[in-house]
């Protein structure tokens, strides 16, 4: 069945220049492998299509049951240059939590 990431994970994001980071953390450690398998860099790039101008990188932190995504070109120049409300990418993480993934029932 399809589940939204918000039911399986929590998240926090921040910025480095024009790059937003999203740390995605499994609510239950047993769900971490599902995140690793389904929330790929390519899938995240498709999710944010039209919202970011650069590539998506992914790093794994199995010790924290977390994935870290770097979304390049996400902040209209970032920091003081950006014209966005979320110029520092503070809530980009919540937009990722809308993603639906397939979970075995």
């Amino acid at each position: 069945m399809k589940r939204r990431l918000v039911d399986l994970a929590h998240a926090r994001s921040g910025d480095k220049g024009d790059t937003a980071n999203i740390g995605l953390i499994a609510l239950k450690p047993k769900d971490y492998p599902i995140l690793v398998k389904q929330v790929t860099a390519a899938r995240v790039a498709r999710h944010f299509k039209g919202m970011i101008n650069g590539p998506v990188e992914r790093f794994e932190l199995p010790n924290l049951h977390a994935l870290n995504f770097l979304l390049h070109g996400a902040l209209d120049g970032g920091g003081t240059v950006s014209l966005k409300t979320d110029a520092q990418g503070k809530v980009f993480s919540t937009a990722l939590l809308r993603m639906e993934i397939e979970v075995k029932t």
Binding site: G23, I25, L64, G79, V81, T85
Partner: protein, 460 residues
């Protein structure tokens, strides 16, 4: 033989300049702490402070810090608490003199030694450095600093924990720095208290991770915590974090008793991933921490044990933060009400854009958001809601240009829409938006050997 403590408690008192004014006082009075760490410097703060200093050579530091010190100094002196703060901005010496004056006013003359850390300010040395082949390439774009040299407003190398350690070893009770890393303000006290060597890479990594966890204040103790946020107790009385460290590099994150908030594995994990790049290599001037080695365990109520951290040797570079004048921007807003709130806002945006176009104005960027509909989640959120039912939408339009003229003209095109655009519009009480100067950030690297941190002591 120097006797070493079993545990050392470093309290986080400010996560940024503008953080909760009550926090430092509560941290030094709410229970035992050995050190109070306060972080004041964001990337753009240095350029603001540089501007202040150019107008008045006695300014250029975080003025709020002086008010804070006036409030906490009697307790700090009485209890022997040491303070580390990068509140010095671009004028750490003036900041220290202001604190010394406060100490004298409080009757603490002769009872306080202040350490001042300088050497991070490269503004006066830039031309010499560039001439000697240090081109300070932008880490994002690869362009040499030469391209914007005439617009540079401030340039500071990020110093690490070493000068903080030196100041503490020479007897400073309050250490005031310029651009020292946020993490160095926590690592320095731990290196000093436990006598950690500057090549004890695992311990340096551990102290760095400890610093990262508490450098944003309550953001690790329940603040801005998405996990189970509705049930985090007593946030009005939130407890700021304390690192309770041991000499082997393991530490607990705790807070004072009878405070609100929550410290659990989830809240600490959220802070660990905040602003994270490559977790295998969190690079600081002091060493490189591997975040994939961090082990977290709930060790009691509001107590998370952190252990297992591995580090790698420091690089031979320091990061440099340059601020330069970029251009101008302005943001204008109007609020449109139901019925058809979003449609009206979209129509207003189209009209505005056509008028700007007809005026022949060009911008480097023009950005429209419909706050309440798509500002933070783009099109992703609109799929799930009945758009026609939205009670109101804020049209928010921003423009950016190298010159002020087109930006200024843009600011005069918002208000007319109230009478000559789509209906049901309000929310213009703030008046015409003002063109704003953009100070942009230029990250670069420099050879470590080119930067000489200096420490001096001031007696009160």
């Amino acid at each position: 033989m120097i006797s070493r403590p079993t545990t050392v408690r470093v309290a986080g008192g400010q996560g940024f300049w503008g953080d909760w004014l009550e926090a430092p006082y509560r941290q030094v009075t709410g229970g035992p702490v050995d050190y109070l760490m306060m972080d004041y410097l964001a990337e753009v703060t240095m350029s603001i402070l540089q501007k202040q200093k150019s107008r008045d050579p006695a300014r250029g530091y975080a003025s709020d810090f002086i008010t804070q010190m006036e409030r906490i100094l009697p307790t700090v002196v009485e209890r022997g608490i040491k303070v580390t703060a990068n509140a010095g901005g671009v004028n750490p010496r003036a900041c220290a003199m202001a604190v010394a004056a406060v100490a004298r006013k409080l009757g603490l003359s002769g009872r306080l030694t202040i350490g001042v850390v300088t050497g991070d300010d490269l503004l006066g040395r830039l031309d010499g450095l560039i001439a000697r082949g240090h081109d300070l390439k932008n880490l994002d774009t690869g362009r040499p600093l030469h391209d914007v040299r005439d617009r540079v407003l401030s340039a500071n190398a990020y110093l690490g924990a070493a000068p903080v350690v030196e100041a503490l070893q020479r007897g400073a009770q309050v250490v005031i720095t310029g651009r020292v890393t946020d993490t160095g303000l926590t690592l320095g006290p731990l290196m000093h208290a436990f006598g950690w060597a500057d090549d004890a890479w695992d311990r340096i990594a551990a102290g760095t991770v400890a610093g990262h966890i508490i450098e944003c204040g309550a953001q690790c103790s329940g603040g801005n915590c998405l996990h189970d946020w509705k049930r985090i107790p007593d946030m009005a009385n939130v407890g700021y974090p304390i690192v309770e460290a041991r000499g082997d590099g393991s530490f607990d994150i705790v807070k004072h008793p009878r405070t609100g908030g929550r410290i659990d594995v989830a809240s600490v994990t959220e802070q660990l991933v905040y602003e994270m790049g490559d977790p295998n290599a969190y690079i600081t001037p002091d060493g490189v921490a591997d975040f994939t080695t961090i082990q977290l365990k709930q060790a009691g109520k509001d107590r998370v044990r952190v252990s297992g951290i591995k580090g790698k040797p420091a690089t031979d570079k320091l990061k440099v933060s340059v601020a330069y004048f970029y251009g101008y921007k302005a943001v204008g807003t109007l609020v449109y009400a139901w019925p058809d709130a979003l449609e009206k806002a979209k129509a207003a945006d189209r009209i505005l854009r056509q008028r700007l176009d007809d005026l022949g104005l060009t911008f480097e960027a023009m950005h429209t958001e419909f706050v309440g509909a798509d500002a933070t989640h783009g099109p992703l959120g609109l799929k799930d809601i009945d758009v026609a039912a939205i009670p109101e939408v804020q049209l928010r339009v921003g423009v950016r240009a190298r010159d002020e003229a087109p930006v200024d003209r843009f600011t005069r095109e918002i208000a007319p829409l109230i009478l000559n655009g789509p209906p049901s519009v309000t929310g213009f009480a703030g008046g015409r938006p003002k063109p704003e100067e953009i100070v942009a950030y230029w990250p670069a690297l420099i050879d470590k050997k080119m930067v000489e941190p200096a420490v001096e002591l001031i007696e009160t």
